[in-house]
C-alpha cells in the first residue's frame, strides 16, 4: 500500500521533526551563554568515547556468530585494521585495507 502525497509529506515531516528534536535538544537546554552544570561537562567529555565503542558494536549488531561464517570475516577485517593502524597510523589506509579484506572474504 502506498500513501497519498499529502500523507507522505506528513510522514516525512513527522520523521524529520523527531530527528531534529534529538539533534537540537541538548543545544537548546544548554545555550552558549549559560555555563552548563559540571555533570554535563563531565558527561560531554566521557560520552564520546563510549559512543564510539557503541557505534562499533552497533555496526556489527546483525552479524551472527552462531551460524553462517560465524562473524569470521568481520573479526579478521577488524584485526587487520588494528594491525595496520598500529603499524602505519594512516587512517585511510587502515579503513581501505580493512574494507578490501572484508569484501574479498564475503
Amino acid at each position: 500500500m502506498i500513501l497519498t502525497p499529502v500523507q507522505t509529506i506528513m510522514m516525512i515531516a513527522a520523521i524529520a521533526f523527531g530527528t531534529m528534536l534529538t539533534r537540537f535538544t541538548p543545544f537548546l537546554l544548554f545555550p552558549e551563554k549559560k555555563q552548563p552544570p559540571r555533570v554535563i561537562l563531565y558527561l560531554g567529555s566521557v560520552i564520546p568515547c563510549a559512543m564510539m565503542g557503541l557505534l562499533v558494536v552497533y555496526c556489527l549488531r546483525n552479524v551472527s556468530f552462531l551460524s553462517g561464517a560465524h562473524g569470521l570475516p568481520e573479526a579478521l577485517a577488524i584485526l587487520l585494521i588494528i594491525v595496520l593502524h598500529r603499524w602505519k597510523h594512516h587512517t585511510l589506509l587502515s579503513i581501505g585495507g580493512g574494507t578490501l579484506c572484508y569484501m574479498i572474504l564475503v
Partner: protein
C-alpha cells in the same frame, strides 16, 4: 561627498574586499583539510544512499520523495525503518515516536559537541541540523590542522557528509534500475571508520575506560534486548555506568577528566 569621506569609503571597501578574499582563502584551506577525512563516509554513503534510493523506488516512491526524506530528515538508519512505515497504514504519530527513539543517540552527540560548537556563530544551526553519526565521530576525533579555522573545518565535514547522502539518494532513485555493480561488503567501510576512530581515542589513556564501558554496555544490551532495540538500553546503561563511575571515583581516567 567630501574628499575625506570618499577616502574613508574607499579604504573601507578595500578592507572589506580583503576581508572577503581572506575569508574565502580560509574556507578553501579548511575544505582541503576536511575532505580526506570524509572519504570513507563518501564510500559508505554512496553504497547505502544509492541502496536507499533504489529501495524507495521499488516501493513506489520516486526520486522526489527519497531525496526529500534524505534532505529534510537526514537520518540513515531511521530512513530505512521509515520505508516500512511508508508502506503500511498511515500513522505519523508512530513515525514521530519511532524517529525519536531510533535517533536518541543524537542527544549524546549534542552533549559531546556543546563545547566544540561554542562560538561558531551563524552556522551553528546548520551544524546541528547535519549532526549524524559519522560527522560527530570525525568532528570530535579529528583536530583541525594548524592555521585552519575550527568552524570552517566543522562546516565542511558536516556539509560534505550531508551532500554525499543526498547525492547518493538522488543517484539511487534516478539510476537505481540501470546500475548493476557488485558492492557486496563495501558498506563495511563505515564499520572500519568507527573502528579506526575508536583506535584513535584509545591512544589517549584516559579515554580507555569510557571506550570499554561503551562497548561493554552495547554488547550487554545487544544480548539482552536484541539487535533491533539495542541503542536506548545501551545509552541508559552507559549513562548510569559513567555517572556512577565518576561519582565513586572507581575509574581513574574518569575522575582525572572530571577535575579539569
Amino acid at each position: 561627498m567630501s574628499r575625506d569621506t570618499e577616502q574613508k569609503y574607499r579604504s573601507c571597501t578595500l578592507s572589506c574586499k580583503q576581508e572577503r578574499v581572506e575569508k574565502r582563502k580560509q574556507a578553501v584551506s579548511a575544505l582541503r583539510a576536511a575532505f580526506p577525512h570524509t572519504v570513507p563516509v563518501l564510500t559508505g554513503f554512496m553504497v547505502l544512499g544509492i541502496a536507499y534510493g533504489v529501495l524507495m523506488q521499488a516501493k513506489g516512491y520516486g526520486v522526489l520523495w527519497s531525496v526529500s526524506m534524505s534532505a529534510l530528515a537526514f537520518c540513515g538508519s531511521m530512513q530505512y525503518v521509515a520505508i516500512t512505515l511508508l508502506t503500511t497504514v498511515f500513522d505519523p504519530v508512530q513515525a514521530f515516536l519511532l524517529s525519536v527513539m531510533v535517533n536518541a543517540r543524537h542527544l549524546f552527540y549534542g552533549l559531546s559537541m556543546l563545547e566544540k560548537y561554542k562560538g561558531v556563530g551563524k552556522i551553528k544551526g546548520i551544524l546541528i541540523f547535519m549532526l549524524c553519526d559519522e560527522t560527530f565521530s570525525i568532528s570530535y576525533a579529528v583536530e583541525p590542522p594548524e592555521g585552519v579555522e575550527r568552524k570552517f573545518f566543522y562546516f565542511w565535514i558536516s556539509l560534505l557528509d550531508y551532500g554525499y547522502w543526498v547525492t547518493a539518494t538522488f543517484l539511487g532513485g534516478l539510476l537505481g534500475n540501470v546500475l548493476h555493480f557488485n558492492t557486496e561488503g563495501l558498506d563495511f567501510v563505515l564499520t572500519a571508520l568507527f573502528v579506526v576512530l575508536f583506535l584513535e581515542q584509545w591512544k589517549v589513556k584516559e579515554n580507555r575506560a569510557a571506550g570499554v564501558i561503551g562497548m561493554a554496555c552495547a554488547v550487554i544490551s545487544l544480548i539482552v534486548f536484541g539487535s533491533a532495540n539495542l541503542v536506548i538500553p545501551a545509552m541508559v546503561l552507559i549513562l548510569t555506568t559513567l555517572l556512577c563511575g565518576g561519582k565513586l571515583g572507581l575509574l581513574p581516567g574518569l575522575v582525572e577528566k572530571r577535575k579539569d
